[in-house]
Every structure is written in C-alpha cells, then in structure tokens.
C-alpha cells in the first residue's frame, strides 16, 4: 500500500496568518479569542469569538474575485497558496488530471447567505447580486482552489459539522493510499462569525460568554472561531522522487457514527473511532504520545472524550498528552480539524506540545494530562487528531513523525 506524507501546509486562523505564526502562538499559549467585531453584535448574547483580526480582503484579492469569494473561500485560497507553495508542486498533464481537492466546511458561505437575507428581508430589496449562489455554495472553496492550481481530479466538499475537515482529510488519505491519485489538496475552512451564524448557535445554549476552557472544572461552553488550514497530501514515493521536504506521515484514519443522539456525544462512538484509527495505522496503542482533543469546552464533550480515551488506552491514557487548542483559536466547526492538525505536526516535527490554555481547576471526570496552560517540549512519535460532530459522526486521523 502506498504511504502518504504531508509536503505542504498553510493556514490563516485567529492565531496567525501562516503556519510559523500559528506555531509560535501555540508555543506561547496565546489566546486568539476576543470581542467580536461584527454588525449588530449588541443584539447577541454571545459577543466573543476567535475572529481573524485586521484582515482586509482587498489586500489579497481583486474586485472581481471578491464578488465571487465568500470569506471562507478567501481563507481557503490563502491557506492553499501557502501549502502548495511549500510543496513546490506544479500541476500539469497526468498529475493535474489525477490530483484533486477535498475540503471540509459546515456553514460554507454562511456570511454571504446572511447578508443576502438581510437585503431581501430586512431592507426589503427585490434584487440581489447575481453571484450569491456560486459564492455561498459549500463547494465554492474546493472549486476555486481546483481552478487556481489546475487540479482536475476528484474534487468535492464534505459537510459533517465539526468533523468535516477530518472526514475530508481521511478521504484524501484513503485515495492516495489506494493508489487512485498521487497528490490531494485537503483541509477545511469556516467563517460563521456573522449575526445569523452566532444567533443560531446561541439558541442551543452551549456557548460560553467569557472564554473556552476545555477540561477545566470551570468551563462553561464553546467559543466559535474562523479560518482555514490546507495541506498537500502526497504519495511517499512521489514525494521522495522529487526530493520534497516531508512534514510528517499520515498513517491511519477511522470514522464511526454514534447512531444515538443528534447532539449528545457517545463514549462508544468516539472510542470506536479512536481505536479504529490506531488499528488502521497498525501501531501499538502505547506508541501514541499526543492526542489533539476535540475538546470543545462543553460539559458533554469533554467528559465523554476523556472517558473514551481512557477506555481505548487503558493505563497508557495516563502517560499520553492530550490538549485542546480550541482554547486558543476557538471552534472552527467544519474547519477545526484542519487547524488542529497543525498542532499534531508541531508535536511530531518540532517536539512541542501545544497547551490547553484557560485551564483553572481540575475536573475529576477529565483526569488526563491535558498539558495545562503552558506548552511542553516532548518527543512524540505518533499523534492522533480527534473530531466528534453533532449528528454523532466521529473521525480520527493518526500521524507519525517522518524518519
């Protein structure tokens, strides 16, 4: 079976506008969550988020592009530019015909939709911009990336709420591993920080008004973020033949469905996905040194996730490190797994474990080493990245240090 490696990474998220800036923020345990700066924020009960501050679309795109690119597409394109640039790949001929794009997103062009509804309902307009539909559709980001780099192979978008990016990257991994293609561009993007987006989440009453504190007894809910991360997944022989710099290896993936409740997570569903990824990677459980947790900061997730990890790893659960970087960048919903994969790459490549910040008080139901507040230097050979979505859909990736 072909091995799959990562040869490029790019991002823009609340912690930074590229991978080095994001790694630096994660190393320093910096918080990218703050007051939201959006229209009608005074009518929201939740007024904080992981918003990308100081972002000007006109710095990156021209007028015609902006007419077609929702904020989530813009983030995806910026991240893809960095990832493809780092990989050094150019797509022509057979390679272009085979290579494709698989992205995760949940809201897609939700901001475009929100603005359009304002125009027709609130402002009573009877005419809208001609590109609302191509701008808001969930596959817009994947399609624009495929157009920009001449990627003419399998290209689509996965929407499984909070697990979208992990499902997307799992598909990209599987396609290369089964020999279908040599290169896939994959990851995810999300930008739901608009009035209607936050208002909808408020309704569920699981959002925190003051911060994201995963695993801490003082936690009181999740905080949304926005942004994108994009990776170049490549067949190892292909990468080696061209002398590419390899960031890490993707060694396993598993997905499960709880088949139980539309919002409450199940320990069994999460545990089956975690154990499945380890089994798929063909590694002993005790080789896992770090888990990037789903760690949303809700009571339901954090307790269930810790119980699932304890179930799968037994005694080794007390030795591995598990942190939630959502404490720093917020929950990017459909893009979250992609940004969180960066923390796994940092652990494997740089030997730095990103912390769970905002940790104030131990919770006996989350009694694992959550790397509280301060990043840690540690040699890690294998890392997992968890994603557990509303709808009970779970997706876990396994990565290994490249040697």
């Amino acid at each position: 079976m072909p091995r799959v490696v990562i040869t490029g990474a790019g991002t823009i998220n609340p912690l930074g506008a590229d991978v080095p800036a994001t790694f630096e923020a994660m190393r320093e345990g910096r918080c990218g969550i703050g007051p939201l700066d959006i229209r009608d924020v005074d009518r929201l009960a939740i007024q904080i988020g992981g918003q990308i501050k100081g972002y000007q679309e006109t710095d990156h795109f021209n007028r015609q592009q902006i007419a077609l690119y929702d904020r989530f597409t813009q983030f995806a394109l910026l991240a893809a530019r960095q990832a493809v640039g780092q990989s050094g790949l150019e797509f022509h001929g057979a390679l272009a015909d085979q290579s494709g794009v698989i992205f995760g997103t949940s809201g897609g062009g939700l901001t475009t939709q929100d603005e359009n509804y304002r125009a027709v309902y609130e402002e009573g307009k009877n005419r809208v911009h001609p590109f609302i539909v191509p701008k808001l559709m969930n596959n817009a980001a994947a399609s624009h990336v495929s157009m920009e780099w001449n990627l003419r192979g399998p290209t689509f978008t996965v929407a499984t709420a909070c697990a979208s990016s992990n499902h997307a990257m799992g598909q990209a991994f599987s396609m290369i591993r089964c020999g279908m293609t040599k290169v896939m561009i994959t990851g995810g993007a999300e930008s739901m920080l608009c009035f209607g987006g936050i208002k909808a989440w408020e309704g569920l009453r699981v959002m925190s008004r003051d911060g994201c504190r995963p695993f801490s007894a003082t936690r009181n809910g999740m905080v949304q973020g926005e942004g994108a991360a994009v990776f170049v997944f490549e067949d190892y022989d292909h990468a080696r033949a061209r002398g590419a710099d390899i960031l890490c290896e993707v060694i396993g993936f598993a997905m499960t469905s709880d088949a139980s409740d539309i919002v409450m997570p199940s320990k069994q569903g999460a545990a089956r996905a975690i154990a499945g990824a380890v089994r798929d990677a063909g590694i002993p459980k005790d080789s896992v040194g770090y888990i990037n947790a789903h760690g949303t900061g809700t009571a339901a997730n954090d307790k269930t996730e810790c119980a699932a990890v304890a179930d799968v790893f037994g005694r080794h659960a007390d030795k591995l490190m598990i942190s939630s970087t959502k404490s720093m960048h917020g929950h990017l919903i459909g893009g979250t797994g992609a940004v969180e994969l960066l923390a796994c790459i940092m652990a494997l490549r740089d030997g730095v474990i990103a912390p769970t910040i905002g940790y104030e008080e131990p919770d006996p139901e989350c009694a694992l080493d959550v790397v509280p507040n301060v990043a840690r230097d540690a040699e890690v050979d294998v890392a997992l990245s968890n994603a557990f979505a509303f709808g009970g859909l779970n997706a876990v990736l396994a990565l290994r240090k490249f040697r």
Partner: protein
C-alpha cells in the same frame, strides 16, 4: 390563561402529555423531557413571557434558573417576570 397554565401547557406540549397530567412536583425527567426538550421549553417560555431565562445547557443544575420541578420552574418564571418588568 394564567402563568401557571401557560407554563404547564408548554411543558405538556414537549412531553406530549395532557396539561392535566403535569404535576407540580414532577421533574422534567419524570415527564420524559430530555436535554433537547429542556432547551426547547426554555425557548418557548422566553417567547411566551418575553423574558430572558439565564440558562446554560452545559450545566443546567448550576444555572440561576431552578428547573428541578414544574413548580420550581413556575416560581422561577414569576420571579423573572418581576425582575425583568419594565
């Protein structure tokens, strides 16, 4: 309808029971209302009485709003109506 009757009607609707079957000392769990149903009840109460209910689904028992029984909910709503009267 009185406040009591309105709240009982909302809870009965969620529980898919007749209002007459809703006892004041029953908990929502007794009536078969789960966490999603609870969030829907709170929403319906807010809409019916034009009040804001302090409630976080992460830890309902630690919210300021007492949801331990139907009677407790009715009392809490009445308190909020007084507090939030303009």
């Amino acid at each position: 309808m009185t406040t009591d009757e309105k709240i009982i009607a909302i809870i009965a609707d969620q529980a898919m029971l007749e209002p007459g079957d809703i006892a004041q000392d029953a908990s929502l769990a007794d009536l078969g209302i789960d966490s999603l149903g609870l969030v829907e009840c709170i929403f319906a109460i807010e809409e019916a009485f034009d009040i804001t209910v302090p409630f976080n689904a992460n830890d309902p028992s630690e919210s300021d709003f007492d949801i331990s029984s139907v009677g407790a909910i009715i009392a809490a709503v009445k308190q909020l109506q007084t507090d939030q009267a303009k």
